[in-house]
Amino acid sequence: MGQITLQDVQKSFGPVHIIKGADLDIADGSFVVFVGPSGCGKTTLLRLIAGLEDVSGGKILIDGKNVVDTPPAKRGLSMVFQSYALYPHMSVRGNIGFGLKMAGLSKDDTNRKVEAAAATLNLTPYLDRKPRELSGGQRQRVAIGRAIVREPKAFLFDEPLSNLDAALRVQMRIEVTRLQKQLGTTAIYVTHDQVEAMTMADKIVVLNGGKIEQYGSPLELYERPANLFVAGFIGSPKMNFVTGENAAQKGAATIGVRPEHIKIERDGAGGWPGTIAVAEHLGSDTFLYVDAGPLGMLTARYIGELSLHAGDRVSLVPDPARIHRFDASGNALRN
């Protein structure tokens, strides 16, 4: 079991309010990603759950038990750090088995479990090596091995893939997701990369300035963002925002439309006319950055190749069914 509930969790460092009251329900076995810009408090929130920081207020319940006064060692959680944080003086075997040794498991049982974990992560040939003799990806696997071998109530991941190169990151992303589904253990994963969040999560928590902006499944966040911040943060390239008369016509202070929901018309009648500033041809997609005069710069995405170039005049027609409306304080308006 690994059900985690946060009730009005707060954290201040001196006069600085980092977490301003977080409420969250994380179901057993789910994969939850905390995402947000740097400094939004996502790592702090994770460290509060881990017990590496003390809360300034509120409750953290693990399987219904308030753990705010329980030391990290007793919370039954395991953590994978951004820096891997392997013990440099121990072999891979020693690193993975350390938690079991601390739990007082016999040598035979420890070895058996360590070897099983190593086999899952393709680490068997490296069991007797020291961390410094491993590559970045292998070190990351050891850190994950150390987390899974203890069969914790939940895994906590603190930006675990940010030190890996792009190709390896994609591969590890898939492996971590697969492993979590296979083990069925609750996982909380912190990242600033919204692609990681969208691809890995069952549910995403979007944080900004120490507040939870929205909590929901990736597609919920994409299709029904609660406010301007979430709308702008989720999705790549970013959602276009238009204010003024165009928005007022729709009865909103701001309207938003994603680049993929804009139709590009060559001869500028109707829609929003403009001049292409930059055209990016990726083969699979074409991204156009269009200077639409009073509306500002707008981004449009076309699936496939579109032979338009910088300087060409186009007209952008938003799909009326996919326009997001926001009020003056930035909250989404529902029909």
Binding site: L52, P71, A73, Y87, P88, M102
Partner: protein
Amino acid sequence: MARKSTTQRVVVSTIGAWFFGFLIFFPILWMVLASFKTELEAFAIPPSFLFFHWTTENYATVQERSDYFHHALNSIIIAGGSTLIAVLIAIPAAWSMAFSPTKRTKDILLWMLSTKMMPPVGVLVPIYLIFKTFGLLDSRSGLIFILCLGNLPIVIWMLFTYFKEIPRDILEAARMDGATIGRELVYVLTPMAIPGLASTMLLNLILAWNEAFWTLNLSTSNAAPLTVFIASYSSPEGLFWAKLSAASTLAIAPIIVLGWFSQKQLVRGLTFGAVK
């Protein structure tokens, strides 16, 4: 071409390094040579470098006149004891400052170091009186106490720098792995800090071994370490350079041997943090 100039540079800098190394070492060499000369040859002008009448007579006389082993034992006890106590006090101090620093940590560290800026002679009279009152004059425990206090700031500074280099994440990982503070200390922190601990102790041992000001002023015979042993040969009546040299050679021999075998640790200790 580039290769040739690199070789040349290596040759020149090697010769230069050996030259300066020899220059620094020369007084010690001269002292060792003098210890094997007769008193007459020891201050002969022009001095003879290698071609003199070699004799070990000075060493025999020195051992006969004053008990080398008594002084050496005192040196070992005082230097060793003060190092051990200083390290035991410094570990928790450095630990808390490295891992839970406060706003005042930097000030405390600087304040501790500032005590080393005061000339010791400035407090000689009060310390002497305190020692006299508590019956610590010419006692090993008194010297252990004063040398320990004298070197404590340096020991804390060195350990603090070492502990600071240990990534916090690793300690937190151990905590997440279920280690209590005690086990975190035994299984994770201490093994990682051993090189730093060793070089700190070594440096402190050398400093305490060579310390002359307090040992000369606060001891006479019972607790007198090797520094007092050497000083007893620089007498106002007559010059005994050969015997003084023999006494000095005997006094520095143990620490030079120790230093030689541990030079790798020492260099690491002294340059730690300078290069990442």
